[in-house]
Point group: C2
Chain length 169, copies 2
DNA sequence: GCTCAACAGATGAATGCTCAACTACATTGG
DNA sequence: CCAATGTAGTTGAGCATTCATCTGTTGAGC
């Protein structure tokens, strides 16, 4: 019994174009950032989030849920950023198992140096090619998706399969 | 002189939502495929392309430019797919430096087994949340981007910096 | 015909990400 | 107050991708 709801021709085309466009856009952004500032987009985003936080400091878990998801990824990333001297780790005063990440002045300087080139490439890659109507439509679409997908966990950021072991008891 | 064309509030919001939505969508698709079929999306796409080719065979470079870009990536990927037995490498009869990739019957079977779950997850992740109008708008937007970005090489798939050494002669 | 640049692929090191443990602390229920 | 469970974060192995480099082949110009 094959009750698969296959994609029709239009959907196929949309899906493949979606994948291709994403790759084209993100590859460019990522490449520009890597070449000009020596950091991947994910690290840039971490610095941005920290720069916007009060005291340039954020709890690890907060930072993880803000656009980054996986805790493991953040740990590795912050470890590298700390080596580079852009970020410093501090103990959380209220919760002794917590950790705070703080943007250093050097990190702030690097971020400020990277920002213009990055913004320019975002503009040149994405916005310059879309009409105001398309930009509005794009925003509506992606916000719809975020609403739909972040409220339906299914596998939210729950990377720990701790549940799997006890679920059938 | 700071002539950076910064993003205004609307653009900021669109860009961040774009990044978030992409991550949400692709993470789900990728996770479903990895869990249920043990392969990343990139490999699945290679199998799809081969399955659609005459004789289930495609030249490596053709396969690379079809949705995959980087030649190096394809080499590594096909090496893994060959280990798994989904793909076989053959010599190109007309060009002795070329190589052909051929989908094996086992690879075809694996692809057919993986397809329903993948399609279902694409539907559940993307299409089910978008109105027909949004789907049409999305397609128009991503096709616009593809048109704009693939015609402007800048760094198309030209990963080889051979030009850099002679450009200034 | 030879030379030299372009092309097709492969390869290895380095990097970032995922997954599955694991440690340490906190919190809840009895 | 103590056990059990949940939470915060780290760590290391495995894998995919990237970059730079390298080999071998083709093709164009002299």
């Amino acid at each position: 019994m094959d009750h698969t709801r296959w994609l029709d021709a239009d959907e196929q085309r949309t899906w493949r174009a979606f994948l291709t466009a994403n790759r084209l856009v993100l590859d460019r952004i990522e490449r520009q950032l890597s070449q000009d500032s020596g950091m991947p987009l994910a690290y840039y985003e971490i610095l941005v989030r920290l720069s916007e936080a009060p005291g340039h400091t954020l709890r690890m878990s907060t930072l993880a849920s803000t656009a980054l998801s996986s805790r493991s990824r953040l740990s590795h990333a912050v470890a590298r950023l700390e080596e580079a001297g852009w970020v410093r780790r501090r103990a959380c005063p209220t919760d002794r198992r917590g950790a705070l990440a703080e943007l250093t002045p050097e990190g702030m300087a690097v971020l400020e140096a990277a920002a213009p080139g990055h913004v320019e490439s975002v503009r040149a890659t994405l916005f310059d090619h879309l009409s105001p109507g398309q930009q509005a439509a794009l925003r509506e679409i992606v916000e719809t998706l975020i609403g739909a997908l972040s409220e339906t966990p299914e596998w939210p950021a729950a990377q720990d399969a701790t549940c799997a072991t006890d679920a059938r008891r």
